[in-house]
Symmetry: C2
Subunit: 358 residues, 2 copies
């Protein structure tokens, strides 16, 4: 054992040297380890940075995605808007229907008395095609009959206008006698009064802006007329073409002020102008519930019979153009149709020609 010990002792350098080597190895390893740990730490930091970068980019991506989704939604909305607009453009009636109560806010109540005759449908079609150019119009058609007719219903339905169809028969004492001239008996009185009654029963005061206009079915209306009288405050007047035996009849005015009247027939009437030449604010009609057309007045006094209950006199009237020299309505008359050859039509009864609506 001693020998062994000595040998061992002698070899102490053998131990010491490796020891030094070991220590330096340890030191190297340790410092390597330390470097490695630092490397790991820095890599960890880098990973963290990268991960937070990823998080940030992901958040950006999410923002983009949601903004993309909102754009998609916007696109969808715009596309559907474009589609509905295309419908509107393709079908002007659709436009009119959808513009109602949206743009102008003042509804024009057009009151049209009508009666059965050969030219009735033609006249109503022509008037409906004029009214189709106007926004916010409510067409009140009153037939001189005990009940409304299918013919008029068809015209109204096809017009796609907002409408009300009424009927009332002219009382016997107001019917024109054979060979009695047209102007002797006032016409359309019961029908216009029926329409006024309908307004009072169905439209609520203060709830709606409106203006009332009496439009016979065979007159000619320039579509620009309607917007000119839409903002009537009380009663507005304007000249009418081809009426009263004149090229035009109605107010003379200067800068919107009425200065006189171009009229030959009975110029002393309280309101010496034609039915087609004035419009009334709806409120005035609703407030003065007793105001109506009187059937017992002398020829030419029908307009005055209504207006006398609404405004004091003709000085209170408004104009719709500065100089009252623009003619936008004509008192045209459609000539009676002659159907004298109808009895000579050679046709089998089965053809049912009477069922063809003319």
């Amino acid at each position: 054992m001693a020998v062994n010990k000595r040998r061992l002792c002698n070899t102490q350098w053998i131990v010491v040297l490796p020891l030094i080597a070991f220590i330096s190895t340890i030191w190297i390893l340790h410092s390597g380890n330390k470097n490695c740990a630092e490397g790991l730490r820095s890599e960890d930091e880098r990973i963290e940075t990268l991960q937070s970068t990823i998080q940030a980019i992901k958040r950006q991506k999410e923002v983009l995605l949601s903004s993309l989704a909102s754009k998609e939604r916007e696109l969808r909305n715009l596309k559907s808007e474009i589609l509905s607009q295309k419908l509107a453009i393709d079908d002007p009636q659709y436009t009119l229907a959808h513009k109602k109560f949206s743009k102008s806010m003042t509804t024009i109540y057009v009151i049209t008395p009508t009666y059965a005759r050969a030219t009735q449908k033609a006249d109503l079609i022509r008037l409906s095609q004029t009214l189709q150019h106007i926004t916010d119009v409510h067409w009140i058609v009153v037939e001189d009959a005990n009940a409304t007719s299918k013919l008029v219903t068809n015209v109204l339905k096809r017009s796609k206008l907002l409408y009300t169809q009424l009927s009332i028969r002219t009382p016997a004492f107001l019917l024109r006698q054979k060979k009695e001239p047209k102007w002797k008996k006032p016409r359309g009185v019961a029908q216009r009064n029926r329409a006024l009654l309908w307004l009072r029963e169905n439209i609520q005061l203060k709830k709606s802006n409106g203006v009332v206009y009496f439009a016979d079915d065979d007159n000619t209306y320039d579509k620009d007329l309607f917007n000119k009288f839409r903002n009537t405050k009380r009663v507005s007047v304007w000249p009418v073409g081809l009426v009263g035996g004149l090229r035009f009849e109605g107010p003379r005015c200067n800068n919107g002020k009425i200065t006189g009247w171009r009229v030959v027939f009975d110029p002393n009437r309280p309101f010496p102008f034609d039915m087609a030449g004035f419009a009334i604010n709806l409120e005035l009609i609703l407030e003065n519930y007793q105001a109506h057309f009187s059937s017992s007045v002398a020829p030419g006094y029908l307009e005055s019979s209504l207006l006398s209950s609404l405004v004091q006199d003709k000085t209170q009237l408004e104009t719709i153009t500065p100089n009252c020299r623009e003619i936008l309505v004509w008192h045209t008359t459609t000539a009676r149709a002659h159907l004298n050859r109808e009895p000579y039509v050679k046709a089998a009864k089965t053809l049912e020609d009477d069922k063809v609506e003319v």
Copy 2:
């Protein structure tokens, strides 16, 4: 030294034990180092993964950004489309103007002869307001006068329709004599022929699809008529209301085939129907350059004088509805206006009433 050596020898365990500790430390450090290196390697890999993830997300982000940009572009386009459509909806005339030559590709040439009279403007306004409902229409108005008039020009301009204004005076021998009934002399012959000449001089064969229709200024036209005859191949016919002394006059047909004629006045005419009851393909007009209305024919033969040069006989005609029982045009007449009170108007000359256009 020996003592030292011995001491050292004696303390060999002191050396060995730390040695073991050292070795294990080295081993630990080494394996730690190895772990650390592995960790570094794996972290490097992770970093690489993260970086490639970042690249991928960045690419996605770029895709999103470019898709967003394209959506933005699409939105901008849609918005401008909506704006232009809004303009179109607000101004139906704009719509009409822009739909011309876009949608239907077949232009309807509406030929209207007209003459000066009190009701002329009213009638033209009413017709223009009907035509305003129709797309792709070219209105050719021919005045019976040496020169075109300002009144007609004004109506045409205000209509915002595509139009051509012409004039030609009816030759003296065709003028109606005093007390001669209306139907004795054919009317509008020179004017309609003038329009046919204009078509032949201005529209090139094969370059344009078109259909020609003769529309007098006081008839009543349902706006649905026009699209029904737009696709006329040669000559199409349909019934007309309130003409020839009948409720309606024109072809009888069954499933689109003409089976007979509802007509009383001279049913043996080659083409026994009214001017308002047929349309002609433009090509037929342009190809048959000699075809025209003849003024020397008997009353009721005016239509036949033109059509005989275009189609062999009435069996070659087309219909526009299956059963020819829908009336879409009426031969209405506007009654003459009585201006008998005009001389009695009390007005200063300075008012220049004659300058008011009625």
